[in-house]
């Protein structure tokens, strides 16, 4: 069982590395969205400082949304998803591997680039540290919740718009707790509570979503 998990993880990572250009897209999109904000609201550092956590987190949300489709779409098209479904391995475990692979491909770059962008937006050092922690805890949740949305819409020809309608409301708690934590630490308050909530959400998402996604996939493929 563990082996099947590792095989899927390895396979998805290799597939991603072989398409390097695609690998860059989500993080480029993330950077672009963040860059657009100073152009839109003006370059006044006091305003940017104030809205930096929100900007970075919304950009992270959107870039996750943009790349979600690839969790299952290509596997659906080439038939490997059906092979996974009829294999003797529990589907939820394989999905967990795919979620983790997706996060390593699209989430991890955002986690690494996010703090750098926060520097440009004038966030304080404490704020940047907390931002890094919240991104680290929060982006896997985005991949996990997203996997359910993709599993539900993967059979549709134009699932993209519906996917965002399904997934974005479910992302709200992550956005709230994460930007709350960064705000609090930038203002010099304790961040234990929101960070603990984010960790709880992460555990909840990782333990429940593969299960929901696997029953949704069975529906989509049948």
């Amino acid at each position: 069982m563990l082996q099947a998990f590792l095989v899927i993880l390895q396979r998805d990572l290799i597939l991603a590395i072989r398409h390097r250009a695609e690998l860059m897209n989500p993080v480029l999109f993330f950077v672009l969205v963040v860059v657009l904000f100073p152009l839109g609201v003006g370059a006044e550092i006091s305003i940017l400082q104030k809205i930096a956590p929100g900007i970075i987190w919304i950009a992270a949300l959107l870039s996750a949304l943009l790349s979600l489709d690839r969790i299952f779409r290509t596997d659906m098209e080439d038939g490997s998803l059906e092979q996974m479904l009829i294999s003797a391995q529990p589907m939820s475990l394989l999905i967990l591997a795919k979620i983790i692979a997706h996060w390593m491909i699209t989430g991890l770059p955002v986690v690494l680039v996010g703090p750098l962008l926060a520097l440009f937006l004038g966030l304080s050092t404490e704020g940047i540290e907390t931002l890094f922690i919240t991104l680290l805890l929060g982006t896997p949740i985005l991949s996990a919740i997203g996997s359910v949305g993709v599993a539900l819409t993967v059979g549709l020809r134009r699932g993209g718009v519906i996917l965002s309608l399904l997934v974005l409301p479910l992302y709200v708690p992550v956005l709230i707790f994460a930007s709350q934590a960064v705000d609090a630490s930038a203002a010099g308050f304790a961040t234990t509570a929101p960070v603990a909530m984010l960790s709880a959400l992460l555990l909840l998402a990782l333990s429940l979503t593969p299960w929901a996604a696997s029953s949704a996939l069975k529906m989509s493929v049948s």
Partner: protein, 247 residues
């Protein structure tokens, strides 16, 4: 005995017959409740010392907000039943509830905004309850969109059932996160606006109205479900027999 009744209710012809007999009763009770609730709320209840007569929109607003959550719970429950036992009727109840739920959520938002204008001075406040109601509306719209995007309606019902269950796990999380966000963000401007502990003469019509709304929902969902049952079973014998007899 009860299980047998439930099994029977799961079969479309029996459901159609049974709901047909149930509807006049439900409509009667609903009318009485609405008549009493509206009269009690709009005429009998005393005027609020702070908000004057404008508080009376509570009799439309609060029951709609309660119902919007109630309908989602019904949907999640029938979604679970639909997924586990594959009973067609629960699928039909589930998807037909979504439109009604969305409508009442929208009503709650609109009346809340109308109420907010004289009370808070603006049409919209990013208040915790209003915001989580807005997110609930998006959840409903997502369900409707997903259902209409999948052509095979049995499959669509299963997809929607899964989504409703995912949503029901998330609703409390969303609700409390939004509540927390709002209290940290705007401080006491909204929380100060606490409902005065309500007078019983005001409270009773409110509860009656809440029940009236529930009955209204039951009536509308049964009507829609009956329609849907007829359409889905339009090629089966009992439906043709039904309409041949009435001609």
């Amino acid at each position: 005995m009860i299980m047998r009744f439930i099994h029977k209710l799961g079969s479309p012809p029996y459901f159609y017959q049974f709901s047909g007999r149930l509807l006049p009763w439900l409509s009667g009770i609903c009318l009485i409740l609405f008549a009493y609730g509206l009269y009690g709320g709009l005429v009998l209840a005393p005027t609020d010392y702070q908000q004057g007569d404008s508080f009376r929109i509570i009799y439309i607003h609060v029951p709609a907000a309660w119902l919007s959550l109630f309908v989602y719970m019904v949907m999640a429950f029938s979604g679970a039943v639909a997924l586990i036992w594959r009973i067609k009727i629960t699928e039909i109840i589930l998807i037909n509830s979504a439109h009604i739920g969305a409508a009442f959520t929208f009503l709650a938002l609109i009346t809340g905004s109308i109420w907010g204008k004289p009370m808070w001075g603006t049409w919209w406040v990013w208040d915790a309850r209003l915001t989580s109601e807005l997110l609930l509306l998006f959840l409903y719209l997502g369900i409707i969109a997903l259902y209409s995007a999948i052509d095979d309606k049995r499959k669509a019902a299963r997809a929607v059932a899964i989504l409703a269950l995912v949503g029901v796990v998330n609703i409390p999380i969303i609700h409390y996160s939004v509540e927390w966000w709002s209290t940290l963000h705007q401080g006491p401007t909204v929380t100060k606006f606490d409902k005065p502990s309500i007078d019983t003469r005001m409270l009773i019509p409110l509860l009656v109205m809440a029940f009236a709304y529930k009955f209204l929902y039951a009536i509308v969902v049964l009507l829609r479900a009956r329609n849907d049952v007829l359409w889905r079973e339009r090629r089966s014998q009992w439906v043709t027999a039904l309409f041949d007899g009435s001609k």
